[in-house]
Subunit: 124 residues, 2 copies
């Protein structure tokens, strides 16, 4: 049953809290999401390690980074979710690699954003 109290709680649910994604364009939400996945030194390290090795398995990363196996697995999942890496089962292990096609797509999206003319009026 809905009381005065429930309505307050419901309203709070909608007005409080975190990112109001619905007020932004799909494009900006997407770009922000790409940035977000790269916004952690562990994930930067993982990508860099894969690039340097030209391939990898998850267990290497546990020793390499000094994080718990569960944590590494969680970071790998986030990278996998946006598609920047892909994994294939290799016996008992999983081999993770950069998806070069997706990597280049991201590069394009970022450079499109940064290659804009940022000329400003003489007000600052």
């Amino acid at each position: 049953m809905i009381s005065e109290n429930n309505i307050v709680i419901l309203r709070c649910y909608f007005i409080m809290g975190t990112t109001k994604t619905e007020i932004y364009s799909l494009e900006y939400n997407r770009l922000a999401l790409l940035f977000k996945v790269l916004a952690h030194p562990a994930r930067i390290s993982i990508l860099q390690y894969i690039i340097n090795q030209h391939a990898c398995i998850c267990n290497d990363l546990v020793e390499e980074l000094g994080l718990a196996q569960a944590t590494i697995s969680q970071h790998l999942k986030e990278l996998k979710n946006i598609g920047i890496i892909k994994g294939s089962i290799e016996g008992k292990s999983v081999c993770y690699c950069i998806d070069e096609k997706v990597w280049r797509e991201f590069e394009n999206e970022f450079s499109k954003f940064f290659n804009q003319d940022v000329l400003v009026k003489k007000c600052c």
Copy 2:
């Protein structure tokens, strides 16, 4: 006075919680921080709006984005902190502009990261 309990609490402080920045290189922490500042659609929108207007004042943004003034101010602060925008007092208002030099620096740091050879061994 330090008791057995305090040590447990202290240990928890160090092993639980959030990002273990101390285990990563300065370079990766820095790169992650840059990505993080851009990892929100509001901040993308703010930057894009400033670029499109070639200048701006904060109050414009409140109408433009549909966020509370306090929230906009908070996002502007984060952008200001990494130096990508700069503000100057213009009468009663504050005029925020892109810092073109810093913008280009960021562009370089990002493209250095993305322009790497990501050739992978044929394992995936």
